[in-house]
Symmetry: C2
Subunit: 199 residues, 2 copies
Amino acid sequence: MDDSKVSAILQAARRRFAHYGVSKTTMNEIAADIGMSKASLYYYFPDKEKIFIAVVEQDIAEFVQVIESLISRTSKASFKLKKYVVTRNEFLVRLLNLAKVETLIASDVFNPVYDELKVSFFNKEMELVQKIFQQGIDQQEFNKFPVKEYADLFLSSMVGLRATALTSKATENRNPDYDKVERQTSLFVELFLKSVRSN
Amino acid sequence: MDDSKVSAILQAARRRFAHYGVSKTTMNEIAADIGMSKASLYYYFPDKEKIFIAVVEQDIAEFVQVIESLISRTSKASFKLKKYVVTRNEFLVRLLNLAKVETLIASDVFNPVYDELKVSFFNKEMELVQKIFQQGIDQQEFNKFPVKEYADLFLSSMVGLRATALTSKATENRNPDYDKVERQTSLFVELFLKSVRSN
């Protein structure tokens, strides 16, 4: 595997996906954009879905890095958790803009190929959120609670609030209601923090 | 409209839906079950989707009645809220069993006809939950908070937690994970109550 070639493919594909969406992008176009033969492109990636997954994996790695650096700071866990949710929302808007779909849940129905991606992202998020929870408990900012169970609830709520706000009747024929997602997820964090905070 | 005829149609349809699902039930079968001519059946209902909606509306009315009677009790608002969630979960299992679909969100993709039903149920639930919140505030069991905004978050979380638990990869090829829905929604209520409880 030639890393610079892979990176050129992903860069070209990313541009195409962002402008035309995954469904309207062809392998031919990606190959042509970087002056690569179709055969070479297929040597690196068997189909455009695999390229899309690799592009999303780049973005996820970047998101994880941003959050890891947030976690390594000395700030309070409550600050980190709020920041996590804001960063997560921004990240998903960018990501789904790239995919030209409103929610991964909706796209899922038609693209089971992304299931694995969703599960691995959820598991990665579980790790990150559990770290923040554990920091809060260790620093006695939070009362002791079962971090895994709470992280699952926390992230399932994030996923669920997003899905319901973006697929609700009210948003039909309109832009996805990202404002509602932001409002509801940040209210959720506030309530969550109130319930776990010590003192 | 002959009420006894309508009620016979709904009863027969309910039996069919529960055994075979909506998609495998025909107007002919419903008519035959109650010895009614096709023409008469069509006089009352233009298609089986409308019959299904009427059946679900019966169930919703019953759910609302159960909750109204819960609300009229003298119990604590926190008790009522927990009871609401348990009753809601049981109700939805029965309802979706009737529809032979796992979640209304999933079925929605294929049946926009149920959108209106979902919206009107959500609005009805908003009323009920706001009443319970207001009781808690009035009785100084809860701190003062914006009931409408919190009810929206509360119910969106219920819908979202249910949808994510029932559509997650882990449940593929298995029975829907109703246990997870119960665990997560009851943990959510606990956290919610901790954050709004006075003292």
